[in-house]
Symmetry: C2
Subunit: 121 residues, 2 copies
């Protein structure tokens, strides 16, 4: 079996870095395709194809305005991704705590020795 389709879910859709860049760009406000082409320096057909993928999974919405198509990011569609990563938050929290503790331990050691050597840091 090959890899899952890019349009099979949000995870696969955002795997491509260009699509992530497009999403960030379109998050602030809607933009025509041409703006994406210019700003992100991508070939026009490439942009259209990426937008197609993003649209298929609901990550962007589109509307026509004259000759142009205006796209905008549908941020809500990113939530599942956010929520999935959040389930791991408590685990890296532990590690952060450890880092903090070590930093404090080191600071204390620094105080007790009154050392000013850079190597201590």
């Amino acid at each position: 079996m090959a890899r899952a389709t890019t349009t099979s879910d949000v995870f696969n859709a955002v795997a491509e870095i260009r699509r992530r860049e497009i999403l960030s760009y379109l998050a602030v406000r809607e933009r025509p395709v041409g703006d994406i082409v210019v700003t992100l320096r991508l070939a026009q057909p490439s942009v259209s194809k990426h937008l197609r993928v993003l649209r298929d999974v609901g990550l962007v919405r589109a509307r026509r305005e004259g000759r142009r198509m205006l796209y905008r990011t549908n941020a809500a569609a990113i939530r599942p991704l956010h929520e999935w990563t959040e389930t791991f938050e408590r685990f890296w929290g532990h590690q952060l705590l450890r880092v903090k503790e070590r930093a404090e331990a080191k600071a204390q050691k620094f105080d007790s020795t009154k050392s000013l050597h850079k190597e201590e840091v």
Copy 2:
């Protein structure tokens, strides 16, 4: 050009649903490969291959214990993903607010009409 490698970054690595399942399973505590095979009902070679990918991008750590290899999720490696999704939080926040407002407006309408029809909800 083809798609980016699954090991090119965390985004590509977690695009595969099996790998996400493995990460969730290994987040709580370290486990030998065999446990993953049994619990997630995957073929052993398949699990080893997925673990290889996850390991290459730093999403899991491994250590040997006798004949077995114990794997655990390195939650910190998921942070970049979390942080990226977080940049969109303020955008879906707006939408949530709107949903909430509409819900309240609807509740008020419900009160004023004293309707009990299911269709209202």
